[in-house]
Subunit: 378 residues, 2 copies
């Protein structure tokens, strides 16, 4: 593979633009990654594009279509290595080559084993100058789910938690409406809309009679109204087959997957509901297997909106990549319900250690994001 | 009283400088307020000063000493109405008048009943132009404790809490070292150093064998090393007379006040320890009376570093003005100890409602400040 070359400020500016473009696909590209492309000639952008829907044009194709003949002699900035394989569309590496692009800068090499350097090699072999590694971290952040699925066969799991500042999610009697404010709830809708799946437990569905859908009218008003929203797949862990078809969840005609250890065939389910049997551990669904199955179904990102028990279990199994805490300016006291259930810890060495990413105000509440702390290897 | 006149950008700039100067006294002026003064003539600062120690020069006196003869014809910017009474120093209003200052702009009128407009009146009666209300909010923020004591006969209480992001302060077995990191602990030292008193319960002293002092070597290194630090008075609630003179607290020769309902005269205490008897409520010290007593002892600011029970009780009694939460990037689980103990709440209407002020990163942790939510009166 070609080594990295020094990039200029101009290069960085164009790649930053390509990253902005890629983000426009964040509600729609799944199971494909978000990709943006900018074509530049004589220090002018002559074409740009992004990937919007699987099966439709990739970012490079869309940018080349804008540039037309002018693409000859241009430099392409792409947030991800151009593809090398025939999927539903022909390989972009071939397209760039054919259009006469003379230089391709990719933010990162694609870790999809179907690509993995082959796209850049096609270009390089054809005499196109290639380079990679510009704004790689930002480019990677566009597609954490896609890359995790490619690299580990698991989706990227973001666990949402809403609590008072003293870490309580409901009063002892169960009351919890509303801990966080309406702006935070809108913000949750935005995360849902960007997720391939929403995962929760039967308990949450039964207690809240939750629909777990994306509601256009609850999204932040700053969003474009013509956004081609998709509904995430609603995934429910139901080890004891407690769900029934009468629940509000099933009043919305949109995919539901129910994971159980043994399907109960006595109930009549709507056509959009699918049951998947996985192995059990102490009569509970094997959660690792659930996530592996979801990855096989091309689910890149899972938005986990669960109760304290499922969230605790997922955390114990090291299946959560990121936490989004919404903390409300309230104190609820020691009798209220805790955020996350673990077996009792007996040493401070055993706490779950995170790294805070960001803390921002969302209405009257705070949104704090954190990722698992990287273990330093020596 | 003279009405407010429109202030210029220049006025605001000089008052902002006076506020900066006032802050220099924040470790030392108690029981006096922090005050800064800037003298300006022909658009040039000809003298500035701040109040550093009770009994020594007020801000105006210090600024006049710098300006000397040049003060004649100058404008004075003062963060607080100049005093009108003979205390340990003569009244500043008289001093400004005598120096020939022609205009005095005060950020706010002093709510100390000994002043309360009298300072400005002395000046106005002498033909000096006076105005007030410039950057009043910032000026008030300099002395929340002093003003609360003047206006309500109670100190301003800031409750410090350190917890994991799921709101836990210790494991079930009591382990809690360390939840927050060293930078957060330095930050706590800085708050302690600015407080007149540190308040806690006998439990905390007994369990942690805490010294509750300000440790110069644990303060942020960015502080000036010649800072004239004072040690806050250490105030302990000991309803059951459980403290003993052998505790580490008493190894540091610095004021301790122990509040109890009935002094136990059988123990021998060091000379710097004082017991105060207050009334009891169900065999517990009356906390409102404790704070009233502290205000009478000229304590402006109390830094409350208590366990979940005392903090909960103080909150229930509406005695806490501000919360400082240090949240660490850890999850400790449902069996760990909660941040604050209240009697069980049965309605979300009864949560303690706060308003978040600020969230900043302190080392690996977050510091979130919040104040009691103002009840809207209609």
């Amino acid at each position: 593979m070609q080594s990295q070359i020094p990039f200029t400020e101009q290069d960085e500016m164009y790649m930053a633009r390509a990253i902005e473009l890629a983000k426009k696909g964040r509600f729609t590209t799944t199971p494909n990654p978000n990709v943006g492309c900018v074509l530049v000639k004589n220090n002018q952008i002559i074409g740009e594009g992004f990937h919007q829907l699987a099966g439709q044009g990739h970012a490079e194709v869309n940018a080349l279509a804008v540039a037309g003949e002018k693409a000859k002699g241009a430099t392409a900035y792409v947030t991800l290595e151009p593809c090398s394989h025939y999927g539903r569309t022909p390989p972009c590496a071939e397209g760039l080559k054919a259009a006469g692009v003379v230089k391709v800068i990719a933010a990162m090499v694609d870790t999809n084993p179907q690509v993995a350097g082959k796209g850049l090699k096609i270009l390089s072999d054809a005499g196109v100058e290639v380079a990679f590694g510009l704004l790689e971290q930002q480019a990677r952040a566009l597609n954490l789910g896609f890359f995790k699925r490619m690299e580990q066969g698991l989706p990227y799991v973001t666990c949402k938690m809403a609590a008072s500042i003293d870490g309580k999610t409901a009063l002892k009697n169960g009351q919890s409406k509303w801990i966080t404010g309406s702006v935070a709830r809108q913000d949750v809708q935005l995360y849902r809309a960007q997720s391939c799946a929403i995962l929760t437990g039967a308990d949450t569905v039964l207690v809240d009679d939750a629909k777990l859908n994306v509601r256009q009218n609850e999204l932040p008003q700053s969003l474009p109204t013509d956004l081609p929203l998709r509904q995430p797949v609603r995934v429910i862990i139901d080890s004891q087959n407690r769900l029934t078809p009468e629940l509000a969840l099933f009043s919305i005609e949109n995919d539901v997957i129910i994971f159980t250890t043994k399907v109960d065939k006595s109930k009549q389910w709507p056509h959009f509901v699918r049951h998947i049997e996985v192995s059990g551990i102490n009569a509970k669904v094997n959660l690792t297997e659930v996530l592996q199955q979801l990855a096989q179904l091309q689910i890149n990102n899972v938005w986990l909106e669960a109760g304290a028990t499922l969230a605790g279990k997922m955390s114990e199994l090291n299946l959560i990549d990121e936490f989004v805490f919404y903390l409300a300016p309230k104190l609820m006291g020691c009798d209220a319900k805790s955020l996350v259930n673990f077996p009792e810890l007996t040493s401070m060495q055993n706490t779950v250690d995170l790294t805070f990413n960001e803390c921002v105000r969302i209405g009257d509440d705070l949104r704090i994001t954190a990722v698992k702390k990287l273990i330093k290897t020596t």
